[in-house]
Amino acid sequence: MQLDYFQLIDRIVDLNMVEKTITVEAQVPKTSTVFEGHFPGYPIMPGVLLIESMAQTSGWLLLALMKFERMPFLAAVKEAKMRGFVTPGELLTVEAGIVHEGSGYAITEAKVKVAGKLRSNATITFSHVPFPNPDLRGHMDAMARRIGFPLQAVLS
């Protein structure tokens, strides 16, 4: 997890193209300037970053389902619940699944777990469009390689 680059996902653990689900891991850093302010003397992962981790996880699932031809963008977050604190150094397991695939949009449900216990969940809406430029596509390809995206699953 590189909080300063907003890169929250470290590794794709499972991508199921039939069930349309994904599971990833995200290691919360032990130290970050984020924790210096949130909160002094009592560092916890901001809820918005937990939501972002679920959005990024869902985004990788959608990228896979759309075979990297379109880019999903966060459009709405519903029913986001912060069920427990996430502290520095914890390993997050983030799961996402498809609720609905519409025309130009998709809805997912995602969960953040630590050691099997639910810490956060949300229903997230994305709009998606063809990649706006080659730079972004190249960046996403590089990110996919970095986090072990199973490209064979998309190509098969």
């Binding site: 459009a75 609905h100 519409g102 025309s103 130009g104 949009y105």
Partner: protein
């Protein structure tokens, strides 16, 4: 069509918190009811679920942007309901 309209009007009223009695078949979802594109995604989701279809929003938007169609053709509710009925019929024919 009236049944479709009743369902769609109820969806819009509940999704966008618009008084049901202000929604008529002649209402333009954007111009009259003030529904923006994000709220329309919620409506599209509810319509997709309720009717078991997939509203072709991208195709419609492209046609409007290209000047091949007007927003009235798709977003005046009686026309939207007619499109929904067509999609439901096409789905039934293909089943």
């Amino acid at each position: 069509m009236s049944s479709t309209f009743d369902q769609v009007a109820t969806i819009i009223a509940e999704t966008c918190d618009i008084p049901r009695d202000t929604i008529t078949p002649e209402s333009h979802a954007i111009d009259d009811l003030g529904i923006d594109s994000l709220d329309f995604l919620d409506i599209a989701f509810a319509i997709d679920k309720a009717f078991g279809i997939k509203l072709p929003l991208e195709k419609w938007t492209q046609e409007v942007n290209d000047g091949k169609a007007t927003t009235e053709q798709y977003f005046v509710l009686k026309n939207l309901c007619a499109r929904i009925d067509e999609l439901v019929a096409a789905k039934g024919a293909g089943a």
